[in-house]
């Protein structure tokens, strides 16, 4: 066992640490992979950190079922309520800054200060998105001046269940930067965590589980993106997919598979996760609904 495996808060001399089992997060519960498989997660220096669950096709399908089940309630919640729930996630993230900073530091090999800065940026990103929940409809929708005696308005609505392939190169900031824009507008998500950095994603799911986010709104799978993602891309009850975490050739294949039920495909150029996010990712999982009604006496 290498030194890197000792999480600092537990590294007290003479005490054997109580280690955490890193599991999947599906429908508000923390199952192991139904396949019984796991894979070694190593620190940036090569030391053993933990065994993460190696999610299977069945796990992915279970996660889609959970996400679909949660969609009706989450999408029908008021925008104000969703904003409050997501803000509470940021509150709980803030309270676990030290734990996340440790995980980020060990996984990515950052300095303590750089790791903490990454965590802080992730918390701030979550707050930024939480505030969008009750602004999207006014920015994205409106009334339309049609040439006739009708009242006509357009509103944005969530696309449904979104498969989110979290970026491979980011521990926490990239992860929250792809989850929050999907769920803030009422979508539910099945997230495939970074293969190399799955542990912060599992810890994030513990935050989600203890905040007020209903079970199934966010589901987190850890494992091989090349194994799990094709099942999500071809799943007929998934409405959209974010390809952030898929390498180029795989992303092509996934986009082709996604055409089978015309999923909305978000495939944005890899950018700097610390930069202002823009609206494309949030808008990529929105539909526009236009309603007409006659006016008259």
């Amino acid at each position: 066992m290498s030194e890197a495996s000792e999480v600092s808060v537990a590294a007290e001399a003479g005490r054997i640490a109580v280690r955490k089992t890193y599991k999947l997060y599906i429908g508000g519960a923390f199952p192991r992979s139904e396949s019984g498989r796991s894979y070694e997660v190593r620190a940036s220096d090569g030391g053993f950190l933990a065994n993460a669950a190696l999610a299977s096709r069945k796990d992915a399908r279970d996660a889609v079922v959970a996400a679909r089940k949660a969609f009706a309630g989450w999408s029908a919640a008021t925008a104000y309520n969703r904003g409050q729930v997501l803000y509470r996630v940021a509150e709980l993230l803030e309270g676990r800054r030290a734990q996340f900073a440790d995980e980020v530091r060990l996984a990515a090999g950052l300095s303590a200060a750089a790791a903490l800065a990454e965590v802080d940026a992730a918390v701030d990103r979550w707050v930024w998105y939480a505030g969008w929940s009750d602004k999207i409809a006014q920015v994205r929708g409106g009334s339309n001046p049609v040439a006739g005696p009708y009242f006509n308005f357009s509103v944005p609505e969530p696309s449904g269940v979104v498969a989110v392939l979290a970026p491979q190169d980011s521990t926490l900031l990239g992860l929250v930067s792809v989850i929050a824009p999907a769920v803030v507008s009422g979508n539910t998500a099945v997230v495939v965590a970074s293969e190399r950095y799955p542990l912060p994603a599992v810890t994030l799911s513990e935050v989600l589980a203890t905040s007020d986010v209903p079970g199934g709104v966010v589901n987190v799978l850890t494992g091989r993106v090349a194994e799990v993602a094709p099942w999500l891309a071809s799943h007929m009850d998934v409405n959209a997919i974010d390809l952030a975490g898929a390498p180029g050739a795989l992303a092509d294949d996934l986009a082709v598979a996604a055409a089978e039920n015309l999923k909305r495909v978000v495939r944005l150029p890899a950018g700097d996760w610390s930069a202002e996010p823009g609206l494309e990712r949030m808008f990529g999982f929105l539909e526009t609904k236009t309603v007409w009604h006659p006016m008259g006496v």
Partner: protein, 481 residues
């Protein structure tokens, strides 16, 4: 009661057909590799010979569009582009009768519809988008949104000129140039539109029109010189295009099929609801992607409503599309008629009860009487597949929740209708129906300011309104949302 009407035919004399038409490339009509004939579906007479664009013709069209994009259109100030679009809008109005007559001849739709709906809306689309051309920086897509380049557009036969306007007006307003492929069975109004482009002195190459069949469309979509594809048509072809664009990285918007539910509650105003149901499914012979092809009627009023509906269907006048009293025109092609015949036969085989309006069908041409199926189950093909003809499938429900469940039980999500006097129920239904357009106490309304497009397998992207501009601007993800 049956009214007798004297014939009131619109004169064809306003249209001067040429024997044969070339492709419109680089501002000129040019010859292509081979020709095909376009016929009137109401009489099966040959109207004209039209050029089939092969891959090398598509090459030329894309090259012309690229040159016009780089040298002229993308660098022209928006206010100047806008003036060309205003000109086109005016020219469509000036030649509206000619366009309406030609549309009815080539498509088979009633002159009343081409005259009162298709052509005026096409002109309105150019006017609406003309005004955007110099205001794009205020449209909410960043301070100076850029065009995408050369756009390949493939349009269907149900609203030939109107779909052309939906495609070309926003593309040009945003600074793109286009290669447009009209439907094989309805190329003539697009070719008349090419003449309008010449009258407008539109710079050569900004609009190119290549006629042909599915192979021509495929050549346009797959051409490496095309930056963005916009397609309106069937869901199966749309999926093929989505696969091709997934690999090529082209931007894509799709407006595909539908199986809209038209939901009638027991408190709905009966006469208006019946008119809305008739308009929803028999407008344009039901050749409408957003047609209200599934009638969901509350069980307590089903018998009464169906009685009124059949009485109303009995008064629909089917026949010569050029007659100004005609309500239901010709089916657009033999192939489409065969598809309708096959699906309606399956309806009877699967146990639904068929009733067709007792109207005589002309001897020549392609015709199908307004038809309603009752006793339809959700699993029946006529409740699941798009028939794209004057065929209504009727299902019943008891509670609003059941209506929502049944309405959304389809892979499509283009449109939906709700009929009730209760405002809160309308808004409750509207928020739960998974469809891009919801018509409440009305149906089949269209406007250039109103975004149109689907959820789920009905496609993605919007046409019309501020939202529609996004499909033709280089904003990240803009082609996909």
């Amino acid at each position: 009661m049956r009214f007798e009407y004297a014939p009131a035919p619109e004169s064809r004399s306003i249209v001067t057909l040429r024997d044969s038409y070339g492709l419109f490339i680089g501002g000129d009509f040019v010859a292509g590799s081979s020709v095909f004939k376009t016929i009137s579906p109401a009489t099966e007479e040959v109207l004209a010979e039209v050029t089939h664009a092969g891959p090398e013709d598509v090459d030329r069209a894309v090259a012309a569009a690229r040159q016009a994009y780089e040298r002229i259109w993308s660098v022209m100030p928006g206010r100047e582009r806008g003036k060309y679009l205003f000109r086109i809008g005016r020219l469509i109005q000036e030649r509206s009768r000619e366009l309406a007559v030609l549309e009815t001849m080539d498509n088979g739709k009633p002159i009343r519809e081409s005259r009162d709906v298709d052509v005026p809306l096409a002109a309105a689309h150019f006017f609406y988008h003309a005004g955007w051309a110099d205001k794009l920086s205020y449209a909410g897509f960043g301070p100076s949104p850029r065009p995408l380049g050369v756009v390949g557009q493939v349009i269907p036969w149900n609203f030939p000129l109107l779909m052309l306007a939906w495609k070309i007006a926003p593309a040009l307003a945003c600074g793109n140039t286009v290669v447009l492929k009209p439907a094989e069975t309805t190329p003539l109004t697009a070719l008349l539109f090419a003449e309008i482009c010449r009258q407008a002195d539109l710079p050569p190459g900004v609009v190119n029109i290549v006629t042909g069949d599915g192979a021509t469309g495929q050549a346009v979509v797959a051409h490496p010189g095309i930056d963005k594809v916009a397609f309106t048509g069937s869901t199966s072809v749309g999926k093929e295009i989505a696969r091709s664009c997934a690999v090529s990285g082209k931007r894509l918007t799709l407006e595909l099929g539908g199986k809209a539910a038209n939901v009638v509650f027991d408190d709905a105003p009966a006469d208006q609801a019946v008119e809305g149901i008739v308009n929803g499914i028999f407008f344009n012979q039901g050749h409408v992607c957003c047609a209200g092809s599934r009638l969901l009627v509350q069980e307590s009023i089903a018998d009464e409503l169906l009685g009124a509906l059949k009485r109303r269907m009995g008064t629909l006048r089917l026949g010569d599309p050029m007659d100004k009293n005609t309500d239901v025109g010709a089916i657009n092609s033999r192939a489409q008629l065969d598809k309708i015949l096959e699906l309606t036969a399956s309806g009877e085989t699967e146990g639904a009860q068929r009733w067709s309006a007792p109207c005589p069908l002309p001897d020549r041409g392609f015709w199908f009487p307004p038809t309603v199926f009752t006793g339809v189950s959700q699993a029946n093909r006529i409740a699941r597949e798009e028939i794209f003809g004057p065929v209504l499938s009727v299902l019943t429900f008891r509670t609003p929740a059941e209506a929502v469940e049944k309405a959304n039980n389809t892979p499509y999500g283009l449109s939906a209708g709700v009929w009730t006097e209760k405002g809160s129920l309308i808004l409750w239904m509207a928020s739960r129906l998974r469809a891009g357009v919801v018509w409440a106490n009305t149906f089949n309304r269209f406007d250039p300011a109103s975004p149109f497009g689907g959820y789920k397998e009905s496609g993605f992207g919007r046409e019309g309104g501020r939202h529609g501009l996004e499909a033709y601007l280089d904003v990240l993800g803009g082609g996909d949302v």
